[in-house]
Symmetry: C2
Subunit: 465 residues, 2 copies
């Protein structure tokens, strides 16, 4: 009577695609563009190259309904030939299941766009990619949604020319509604340019309009690095897996080798405090001993905090530059907070506060949100930054009136793990440590704006006499 | 350099468990309780039995940190012995991947609680279940998180006594924080009782307090039924799968057999309008013909709307009764809207509006939200109901002042598919059709309250003279 069955990850996310940003044709176009652009930005930064990304969205008249050809080309790392079918045809497959600041996390985004294109138009995705070696790989793929496997419809290998090309071109056909999403799409490009001033992006829209977002610098910020887990982020399962795969023969060596910033002195202190034998073979630990060890690691507060040099923030200078370029304010100030952590993950909050000039006066503060340099354009009122700006900060205290003053707040959070609330990366959870850092940053900025405004008002008053 | 790999669904949801409601120990206790209780309610209703559910949360002193034993017992359908390991040990496995109004949808909830318990305490889940036949099955399971498979630690088969027992007992150990979650947990039980007055629930909390939520009726509402997909909800992938598995030899027969409420006359009209050959073998359709057929099905507006008899709403009477019992208001009115649809899925909105009496005056309207009889207690301001109540309804028009009048709004949405925004079932998307129905229902209720209040004010004024 009851039908028990398993469904594959592709079947699951196909059924629940609205939970990952594919709610309707207008939103699907936006989400597809953002997922491909974020893949391209990650790919270029991964090899230290200033990204060149070209996007085109062209109406395809061969369908009775509104169908677009979306093409995204980048000069990034490319993908090795043998991985291309899985990278674009197997949900949960990817290269970003690591502890590193990147835009990608889930192994889902690009493939959801491909899947959506396939279920609305039945057309295979077309991929051309090279890692800059002698070959260029070309594929046309479909996703076997039931089995979560790629179906290779066509595969060609071409000789790479001279000079060698390196990068990726991806093209899908999908049902869309550009009229309803164009404003958000252009805003996405603008804000991406703001947070990634070393990237150059072009966008050709269905009306034939070419948007160009020129780079203002070729200098990339220091790239992010992968790190080992921090003891404060550990749980029994992670610990068990580490023990199963370690070659370390002593507990002391195991801790030093497997954890982030755990050195000899700290390890000895830790082992002493919890009466653990440094020479114990980790493989000999019983399940309940592993539980106790996880608890001890989580609660030992003498471990050094996570090393934030693995992170890649924007920096106050670049943040001010981006705000000036896009918003043209009368006044702008930026703060980069010292690194902090939540649940063992390092993060840095950067905030800019801008006033006047080109900032619109809308009766409320205009909020720009970024996470690992990705612009977040939806669900503003569910986001931790919105909560801080509209419910925590007492603007009156700084003689600022959000209802009358033209104010913009820009918040950027970078981390080895952004606490998104949704798989569509739409808004960020109000983790107490993150909320506190955003609050402190905005208070400092508000104080500076307050000083500017009171100085400005004194000068204006003086002029009246 | 880049490490390409696939991760299993269990590995994926383990890594991203905060996205499915396992954010911290306090929230994890809440989510575990709700997922098990919702499973038990589904199980009893599936066999037409008034649910008896007994929950206990007891502190386990055998750990250095805050660990609880959570036990949930029900008189529901039970699970056949051979399916138990997969139902509780394989993520995305379940019996609810169907088009039917149920609380469960994803094949994820119960197992996430089990997984969380395992990674915080390393203890296996203990399950005892019988479908009411000669045997009672007992298992202790762990989840192999890497492979997404159950690990059977222990298995026993017992003779079922006389009279035969039927139901399920599930017990996990998990790290928790009851002090921070007790208020929400008790509220969850209260609101579950409100929306499920035929269910009897007991809860023993860590302080030894017994909470009993007695049933007010044994009469179950008509149970929900599984339906075939409606043509308006179809896409190329669904259509392709239907064609691959059908035995129908003609297109005409295929449409009538596979779709919800598609009869002979409507099918003939449809085939004629789109110049399709009724005798065509569906297996012979080319991919582009399937795309055209999907488009035609979505856009043919002469199909009958989905049959709402598959749904199981509360009903105005039961809704008023539940509100009176829990909130003790001075005035309450309820409206059940006619069935409607979004994207081919039928839904019914039911609203109650209560005033005065036991309703607290908090300066804003108190909102109670239910989806398929599940109370939603988080992320209120992101929910479509909150948007309607606080941003769409013009309360002044009804001479109601939300800031001064003690008002409660209760919204219940039932559907074969609730458009949750998150996999943690926290809040509902503002689909235009759903937003419109909630708005209309509240306006009708507001008009009735307005009449009551103006009558009341006239009477009071008359008394002053
Ligand atoms: N333009 C590209 N250049 C190089 N590699 C790419 C590109 N696009 C995708 N990839 C590779 O394909 C993988 C899968 O991409 P996909 O977008 O599906 O998931 P993801 O980026 O890993 O995670 P997320 O779901 O968070 O986007 C990536 O991890 C990356 O290795
Ligand atoms: N108490 C119970 N009685 C009978 N069957 C149950 C019970 N609990 C779970 N099951 C079975 O186990 C399956 C898996 O439950 P699980 O909670 O993991 O997913 P689900 O309920 O199908 O979906 P969701 O993730 O939305 O809760 C269910 O589909 C149901 O068949
Ligand atoms: Mg991606
Ligand atoms: Mg469930």
């Amino acid at each position: 009577r009851q039908e028990f069955r398993e469904i594959s990850p592709s079947e699951f996310f196909y059924r629940h695609r609205e939970i990952v940003g594919f709610t309707n044709p207008a939103r699907a176009v936006y989400t597809s563009i953002r997922e491909f652009v974020e893949n391209s930005l990650d790919a270029a930064e991964s090899i230290g190259v200033p990204p060149d990304i070209h996007v085109s969205l062209i109406r395809d008249e061969g369908f009775e309904f509104e169908v677009y050809r979306l093409r995204v080309e980048d000069n990034g790392s490319g993908i090795p030939g043998e991985y291309i079918p899985y990278a674009f045809g197997k949900i949960l497959y990817g290269s970003k299941h690591t502890l590193k600041q990147m835009r990608g996390i889930f192994g889902l985004g690009g493939k959801m766009a491909i899947l959506y294109g396939q279920i609305t138009t039945n057309r295979p995705v077309h991929i051309i990619s090279s890692i800059g070696d002698r070959y260029i790989y070309e594929y046309r793929l479909l996703i076997d949604i039931e089995k979560n496997n790629p179906i290779i419809v066509e595969r060609n290998v071409h000789r790479n020319g001279s000079p060698r090309w390196r990068g990726t071109i991806i093209e899908i056909f999908l049902e869309g509604d550009y009229q309803r999403s164009s404003i958000k799409i252009i805003e996405y490009f603008k804000e991406t340019a703001m947070a990634n001033p070393y990237a150059e992006l072009t966008f050709i829209d269905p009306y034939g309009i070419l948007y160009t977002f020129m780079r203002s610098t070729r200098r990339l910020p220091a790239s992010s690095r992968e790190v080992k887990p921090h003891p404060h982020g550990v749980d029994v399962e992670t610990l068990r897996k580490m023990i199963n795969s370690t070659n370390c023969k002593t507990l002391r060596e195991f801790l030093i080798e497997n954890f982030h910033r755990v050195g000899e002195a700290t390890t000895d202190k830790f082992l002493k405090k919890y009466s653990l034998d440094p020479a114990r073979d980790p493989a000999s630990l019983t399940p309940s001993e592993i539980v106790d060890l996880a608890y001890a690691l989580k609660n030992f507060d003498e471990f050094l905090p996570p090393d934030p040099s693995c992170l890649s923030p924007l920096g106050e200078e670049l943040l001010v530059e981006g705000v000036k370029k896009e918003l043209n304010p009368e006044f702008v100030t930026a703060i980069q907070r010292k690194p902090s952590t939540y649940s063992g993950y390092p993060f840095i909050v950067e905030v800019a506060l801008a006033y006047g000039g080109g900032i619109p006066q809308t009766g409320r503060i205009t909020l720009y949100r970024f996470a690992n340099k990705i612009p977040l354009l939806y669900d503003e009122s569910s986001d931790v930054s919105w909560k801080v700006v509209n419910q925590i900060i007492d603007w009156k205290h700084y003689k600022i009136d959000p209802a009358k003053d033209p104010i913009a707040v820009i918040v950027h959070i970078c981390s080895t793990r952004i606490p998104y609330r949704t798989l569509g990366k739409e808004f960020i959870a109000d983790r107490p440590e993150i909320e506190a850092e955003i609050t402190r940053a905005i208070r400092i900025a508000a104080r500076r704006l307050s000083e500017y405004l009171s100085h400005k008002r004194r000068v204006e008053k003086a002029r009246e006499y």
